[in-house]
């Protein structure tokens, strides 16, 4: 009787274990072989620690930039979309707000007449790579921005290509958790942060920008940084 009871319990446990294993297997297959991801990028950027140039600039954040969504079908990795548009105002308000003493958002370049210049950032190219495609452990993002600066009359002063890169290892996420969404989100944030850092430190050192700054900086200018 006792043996029979124990045998019943053993069979019962084994059945439950098999069901659990099957469930985990099915879930893993769904996670591992899923058809891509829709990634909504969220977060904030720290305020750059730089000395602002004493000029008043206009900033155009057009619809193409603030609604930018990258979509791509990757072989063996499905349909991917990365929505970075809503992050662009956060990035450029934070970086340009630290680079210049006064920044006014304007709808068009022409609306910036009377200001020292107008900045127009845009996304030129966006590329992603995922582990299922590259067979390494990384989610990678490349963003090629073009930062255009126009003078008060609307003539271009410089069009500066700025390539940013970000990557995240899937090992940073738990083995039972799908790394696709958080991995791509983190890699995209790293790329945008890279763009912000490079923009803040390198854009003011461009010869065309330096000439423009010398012409427009107020006499009590503290000097550029870096």
């Amino acid at each position: 009787m006792i043996n029979a009871k124990w045998r019943y319990r053993a069979v019962n446990i084994a059945t439950r274990y098999r069901r659990k294993t099957l469930l985990i297997g099915v879930c893993s297959a769904m996670v591992g072989c899923g058809g891509g991801a829709a990634v909504q990028v969220e977060g904030d950027f720290p305020k750059p620690l730089i000395v602002a140039s004493p000029v008043h600039v206009g900033l155009v954040l057009d619809d193409a930039l603030i609604t930018y969504v990258h979509t791509e079908t990757i072989e063996k990795a499905g349909e991917w979309s990365v929505d970075v548009g809503p992050m662009q105002p956060k990035l450029f308000r934070s970086v340009f707000g630290a680079m210049f003493t006064d920044v006014t958002e304007v709808a068009t370049i022409a609306d910036g007449a009377g200001l020292a210049g107008v900045l127009v950032p845009r996304i030129d190219k966006f590329q992603i790579a995922v582990p299922a495609q590259t067979r390494n452990d990384f989610y990678e993002v490349w963003i090629r921005y073009v930062i255009a600066l126009y003078d008060a009359g609307g003539s271009p002063i410089v069009e500066w290509p700025l390539t940013a890169y970000g990557k995240t290892s899937k090992e940073e996420f738990g083995p039972l958790e799908s790394a696709d969404e958080p991995g791509m989100r983190a890699a995209t944030m790293t790329a945008m942060r890279d763009a912000g850092a490079f923009l803040a430190l390198r854009f003011p050192t461009l010869p065309e920008v330096q000439r423009w700054l010398r012409a427009h900086a107020s006499p009590d200018a503290e000097g550029m940084s870096p």
């Binding site: 750059p48 620690l49 990557k167 942060r193 912000g196 850092a197 490079f198 803040a200």
Partner: protein, 217 residues
Amino acid sequence: MRVAIFALVTAGLTSGCVTTTIQEMREADTGIEDGESVVVLGRHHKGGQDIESGFVDCVSNNLNGGRNKLGVIREDEFVDAMFPWFEPRTAPLTTTDLPEIIGHPMLSERLGEIGVRYVVWVEGATHRTDQGGSLACSAGPTGAACFGFLSWEDDSSYEAAVWDIKQGAQVGRVSSDAVGTSFMPAVIVPVPFIARVQNTACSTLADQLKRFITNDS
């Protein structure tokens, strides 16, 4: 008590052997005062090999714990506070760039606010250097069983460069190289004997860094 002994015996039985080599090169005197802290940063520059973020956290936690613990600022907090100067593409690669950073009034003021005295740059990685054996498992209506033997060797090699913000110079380097073999024999049930190679490299590196920074030989 019995539970503690069992846990110790189990840990001893189920861990492989790890051999660690620590090296230290001192270039200047060190010391740390109350209110001063250390930040451990991983090297992530383009072209270089990325360090595992878990290893940086591990070294930070070990420096901030145990005997003679040091004040430690988290890597992400420091990088945010110093944005955009310590990003992968903009961080100083050598101490020749350090005077520019600490000579900048805004940055020097921020460094003073957060109280960082030492920046420890860690680079390195853990690699699987060897593996062999085979293991087969099968399951049937009466149960499951595994037979075989697996073994693998990991090598964790990390180096830390210590920069003194006060002196504006590198004050030394500490390296930790740990090699260990893990194995898993299986006669019906696989029993893993895992060598915690990376963890050993982390704790030995952190211990040596503590001694190096506090000048405690």
